[in-house]
Symmetry: C2
Subunit: 425 residues, 2 copies
């Protein structure tokens, strides 16, 4: 039965393309130090996880054995209908309008928002296709694009989100290069962006939808609106989704998660798809997993029916607002005195984005990362969040998260980081 040498394993093109995020190496290096203060991971605060709420939801669901049995049976590919009904209502409430022309048949429940992003990439993008993103943008989304052989093209952002002029310029450039036909989507983390913390303003939302429509010449250019952090608003206006500015609902794909506003461990996310796209997405999802866990969806419906969802979000907002304040205060205290440092105070989310003096590289080819590790603090080098194409990579950037650590360690972590930066100045 045993043969000495089998020929080498031949991976598919996709198998070859799919890589560990480059950041993983750095994170592994950090594991050696158990006293390390990690301001890196975008995890949610362990202390806020809804243990009591889940107990109540489970008890309520299990109070009726028939209902419990239904939750343990196969569900549907698109997701538990009562949950999708609640999601439509939730979206309408958040956007302050009734969507007459949007039906729950356009809603899909997925395994986190990341499966949603992967399904979108799989159904819209061929190898060589392009998605326009802000520079910086969500690291893992670039990994998704890599899986399918597509490319991220970065455009400028400022404190109101993606810059429309920069988006136009990118489209003009790609058109001039004969590549407009490869641009299939614009990707926006529209609320409290990962990694930059920025929120796209109302005016920009309208402009970006208009630009996507106007440049949909050769093919539809979708907008992928990733609203993962929408619920984690601390202050500032409650802005309607980009989806709300897309009158025909044929351009914006709305995608979000229950990981940030509720619990990552239930692994659920959801999205709203244009009518023309929904079948392709659910057909593919049907072949992949027949739908996301029915049990978890039933539990979430109970959470909502028991009125536990909104109060939980309120608690999260206060909690993360408090920790954001701790981080911003620490930045004022320790980083402000160093010259040439800047950041933007986010109105929600989990991240503070730092820009260092230009000569300080925060990535693996600079000295700061190791020095910070030596001092006992871990961060995400910003350079990993920049698309290779387009606006270029800024190596003098850092993503800090205030999600996991408590205020005292946030303060200490920023102090240690400031020490490291100070030594390199």
């Amino acid at each position: 039965m045993k043969i000495k040498t089998l020929p080498a394993l031949a991976l598919s093109q996709r198998g070859k393309r799919s890589k560990l995020p480059p950041i993983s190496d750095l994170m592994t290096r950090a594991l050696g130090n158990p006293k390390l203060i990690s301001l890196a991971a975008g995890f949610v605060d362990q202390a806020t996880l809804p243990v009591a709420e889940m107990r109540k939801a489970f008890d309520a669901l299990w109070a009726d054995p028939d209902e419990a049995r239904q939750a343990l049976q196969y569900g549907t590919t698109e997701g538990h209908r009562p949950l999708r009904e609640k999601l439509l209502a939730h979206l309408q409430e958040g956007d302050g309008q009734t969507y007459q022309d949007v039906s729950i048949e356009q809603f899909v429940v997925t395994s986190g928002s990341n499966q949603q992003l992967h399904l979108i990439a799989d159904t819209l993008l061929d190898p060589g296709d392009m998605v326009i993103c802000t520079a910086p943008t969500y690291l893992v989304f670039m990994g998704v694009l890599e899986d399918v052989g597509a490319k991220a093209f970065g455009v400028d952002m400022d404190d109101a989100g993606m810059v429309p002029e920069s988006l136009e310029a990118a489209l003009e450039q790609l058109d001039a290069q004969g590549e407009l036909g490869r641009v299939k989507a614009i990707y926006l983390v529209s609320y409290y962006d990962n990694p930059s913390g920025m929120t796209t303003s109302v005016e920009r939302r309208q402009q970006i939808v208009e630009i996507a429509h106007r440049w949909s010449r050769e093919q539809r250019i979708h907008i992928i609106e990733d609203a993962a952090y929408r619920e984690l608003r601390f202050d500032g206006p409650d802005i309607p989704s980009t989806f709300s500015f897309d009158e025909d609902h044929e351009t914006v794909i709305y995608t979000t998660t229950f990981s940030k506003p509720f619990a990552p461990g239930i692994r659920l996310g959801w999205g709203v798809f244009p009518k023309e796209l929904i079948d392709a997405v659910t057909n593919l999802k049907g072949n992949i997993d027949f739908g996301s866990p029915n049990l978890n969806q039933h539990l979430l419906v109970k959470i909502m029916e028991l009125g536990l969802y909104e109060p939980h979000i309120e608690m999260l907002r206060k909690n993360y607002a408090r920790k954001k304040t701790a981080m911003v205060n620490a930045a004022d205290k320790y980083l402000r005195p160093l010259s040439g440092m800047s950041w933007f105070e986010p109105h929600g989310g989990l991240y503070l984005w730092l820009t260092l003096p230009e000569h300080i590289a925060a990535g693996p080819d600079g000295r700061l990362f190791d020095l910070a590790l030596e001092k006992g603090v871990l961060y995400v080098p910003g350079q990993y969040c920049f698309p290779e194409l387009g606006a270029g990579v800024k190596k003098n950037t850092i993503r800090l998260s205030f999600g996991v650590q408590e205020s005292d360690l946030i303060d200490k972590g920023v102090e240690l980081l400031a020490e490291a930066i100070g030594e390199l100045m």
Copy 2:
């Protein structure tokens, strides 16, 4: 903001390929009749779902709020380590041997076994590649292949599973056509096959591994062993996995599910990958969903720790054996008197595979399907389970499932089917 006409939505190649299973149309047609006895769906018996067991597991997990919080946090991409440890032990116990050279790093927990099959297809298969299957084979696996643009090539099976001579002949034919380099895997539902009910014999398992090794000339030809029904054994020997006959564990990928032996609603499956393949699979899964639901994995570990898993399987075995007997008895009573009908009594699983006289087409182009519906019974036309390439399609076949219905309705359903067949003879 509104523009009159956007250009047509451009799906990716994959988006275009991914279709609803052809069977869906037929199933939709059936929804009109609420009194219909469905012997079609491969669902598990609602009455057997582990409601009491899950209550105990939840209580045990929630007894320690710290543990509950861990279950609600992100897990790892490859899956909860204590669960994977139990799975290695479970596999070793089932196969009656200790795998010195297999580590839990090769185990991945997925969203059902179907995500496993999709990940395998994604990492091994490019468009145009081929997988050799039995004819008939698992319908949804062919959908998975279609997603990635690969093709199923059918070879003969008999009551001991895939016929080695037919497998050899297929490889010779493909080699002669210059297509051997496209053959990347052999797919086997090795226990109580869906749809045929057949189990691959020990001798055949050894032969098929040997053939895969010997024909791995230009590239590795993997065996994808789908053991989804392994736990549902009624009688007959407890056969070691095909994986157990692959000495180097470089050829057989072992994949299975918790849907059949436990509950589909927790949406978990698992598999064991060759060392050379595991990174590609977990990298891809990491970009898709960061791992399957941590909560559900923690609950399963509790189920096992509390000693609830094995007794549940024992109960399922007895329950499905009882229903299998009801179906076989009904077949003897109602179908045997019709001439030219044959079937094989399965030793486990959920299915009875019928072969009708050759002139009776059981699919959408024959009269039987509609006639059976009129009488009030729904079945899966066997023709959907045959690969287009290779051994050809037998339209005079039917898959019946005894999973869902109780014995009296199984009896009635088979009686109605026999009436319909009788009228066409």
